[in-house]
Symmetry: C2
Subunit: 359 residues, 2 copies
């Protein structure tokens, strides 16, 4: 058992790292070995507050974590503008990298990240937790079913939450020097990933930003949306916002079925998640009701989705330690997601003109 425990270091004391620290503790094949912060005091308090193992090391720098030979992999929840520097530094020290989203400020930056990880032979995966929920696999089964869902025609996704005045003033996600993509990089990332998921990761041909983005005074996006178009006529839309009530929807419509999920990023409850599927529905004779009605699908999970993610990542790292190559699927999905974000941003900058997606 001990030989398959992947030993994690965490860079920084971001709020989201509390959730990941718990996930690492819950995952059967991972353990927390080290935490680094620019402030040793802050790191000590964070470790104590979050039930780190007694033997976990606490450092006053990120470099110290990367220099620790007992660390196999690092979780990097730093602001996006720091990703290139610290992922490259981690890769050079042969640390596998679990990286928060958005993975980079743009695709060229992400390509530098990927090149460093490939060159070092380390696994790279982004922190899109919902991808690892067993519900997601069940939704894939439905979307892939030619009898129950048919051919996909359109996907509509929404992720919003109404942030506090303090968030609007101080959060890193509204600061141009830290997370310059704002709501597009944060909540928009999930919307775009969900669209790509439903489209089985086929890239759209054209992206057109909606002509209604909201920016803060520093020019960071607080709310935006876009429509995406595929060569064969499939379409998608998304809306992401820091200014509207908590909403996280996927609506996927095929020729024979419809999928609805209203909590795709963070399930309402941790151990049980639902989605609604409607198949081959029509009306009764007088059009006063549906035949059949949609059905609710319930998916249980003992490990929460973020622990499933850590487990999957750690399992890939363990394989690499015994001679396998890194799994390219994950950085490929990250890059496609980042590419769409870049294209939405380009369309906004071009006055909401349609922009071609150039892989």
């Amino acid at each position: 058992m001990a030989s398959t425990q992947i030993r994690f270091g965490i860079l920084g004391c971001a709020d989201i790292a509390r959730k990941l620290a718990r996930a690492i503790a819950l995952a059967p094949n991972a353990t927390i070995t080290a935490l680094g912060s620019r402030s040793l005091e802050k790191a000590k308090k964070f470790a104590a507050d979050n039930n780190f193992p007694a033997e976990a090391k606490v450092y006053g720098s990120y470099d110290a974590v990367l220099d620790d030979a007992d660390v196999d992999a690092v979780y990097i929840p730093l602001p996006t503008s720091l990703h290139v520097r610290w992922v490259i530094a981690a890769a050079e020290k042969k640390k596998h990298v679990l990286l928060e989203k958005p993975v980079a400020l743009n695709v060229p930056e992400f390509d530098r990240i990927v090149a460093a990880c490939e060159s070092a032979g380390v696994q790279l995966m982004d922190g899109t937790m919902w991808m690892h929920h067993p519900r997601t696999a069940k939704m894939r089964e439905f979307l892939s079913d030619s009898e129950r869902f048919g051919q996909l025609k359109s996907v509509h996704t929404i992720f919003s939450f109404a942030v506090s005045p303090d968030f609007l003033a101080n959060d890193i996600r509204v600061k141009p020097d830290l997370d310059a993509l704002g709501a597009l990089g944060d909540v928009g990332w999930y919307c775009v990933r969900a669209i790509l998921f439903a489209m089985d990761y086929e890239l759209p041909k054209i992206v057109t930003a909606s002509c209604d983005p909201v920016f803060n005074e520093a020019g960071v996006i607080l709310s935006c949306g876009a429509s995406l178009k595929w060569e064969d006529g499939k379409v998608a839309t998304f809306q992401c916002s820091f200014l509207s009530h908590l909403t996280m929807d996927i609506t996927a419509i095929g020729t024979k079925g419809t999928l609805h999920v209203h909590d795709f990023v963070v399930p309402f409850q941790e151990h049980v998640a639902l989605f609604s599927a409607s198949s081959n529905a029509g009306f009764n004779d007088l059009v006063t009701g549906w035949v059949p009605s949609p059905s609710e699908h319930t998916v249980m999970t003992i490990l929460p989705q973020e622990a499933q993610m850590v487990k999957e990542f750690s399992s890939l790292v363990a394989s690499i330690q015994t001679g396998s190559k890194p799994e390219k699927k994950w950085p490929t999905l990250s890059r496609k997601t980042q590419l769409i974000l870049d294209t939405v941003k380009a369309s906004i900058e071009k006055g909401f003109e349609p922009v071609e997606v150039l892989p």
Copy 2:
């Protein structure tokens, strides 16, 4: 009781008239008095098949219904291109008019319809049944609640159903000389009305059609969408289609709440309907669940929504018969809906340019 029974004539044997004939029979203040079709045989069969009262008269023309002094009101489910002619003819004979949607091919046509009805002092109401479901009033309560829903930010509506090859070849809704607005006039009408409903009937300032409409060979819209923008930043989108699986969604997002309904046009079941409301939702401490979760609201109705509509219409007619003026609310809502359809069409014709809504 007998004196408050509004006596209906029906023009034509459209499929939807079967549903309305039952609704008239169910409504406590309405009765079927006459049916007219261009074919007397067809009218006789329709009356027999649909359990018309034995005393109901059956005619071989629409004019005969309008000439019948026992008819107070007519239900007109004729193809849209015939609406101007037959509503004006009905109004001239002082018949109140319950008119299927879309009410006209464009606003100037509808203005002629309204002028005729106003001049004759008769009630005009369109056949948007879901407006009369008690669920709709409950949804309004939620949307109007400054504590539970806050300020409306965006609305997204979808209505699609995947039609048969026979429909694509023969249905009046894909024929340029009958229902030239195609899917926009049929399913799109409901999407637009739902957006206006959520916006409390405030008109948007700008409408931009999505750059992905599908047309049939005759140039009739089979699928389209649009985004709408209000002066104060509120936004809406809709998607309507004859080519995707049955879906009918309203998603309305405010600053403090979210409304979801998945069967807004025709409830899954006739006597009980649901909507989901989420209010002041956030995450638990580690962002592994929602606090609180959304709640389901159940609304019962003994009379199906189409009978509620007939009842409301008949009640207005009864008031007019005792001296009241026609209720202008209903033609005003019809005109706003038609105006948005016209603007979407204009945007499509202008190559998906944003088009100003000119009331």
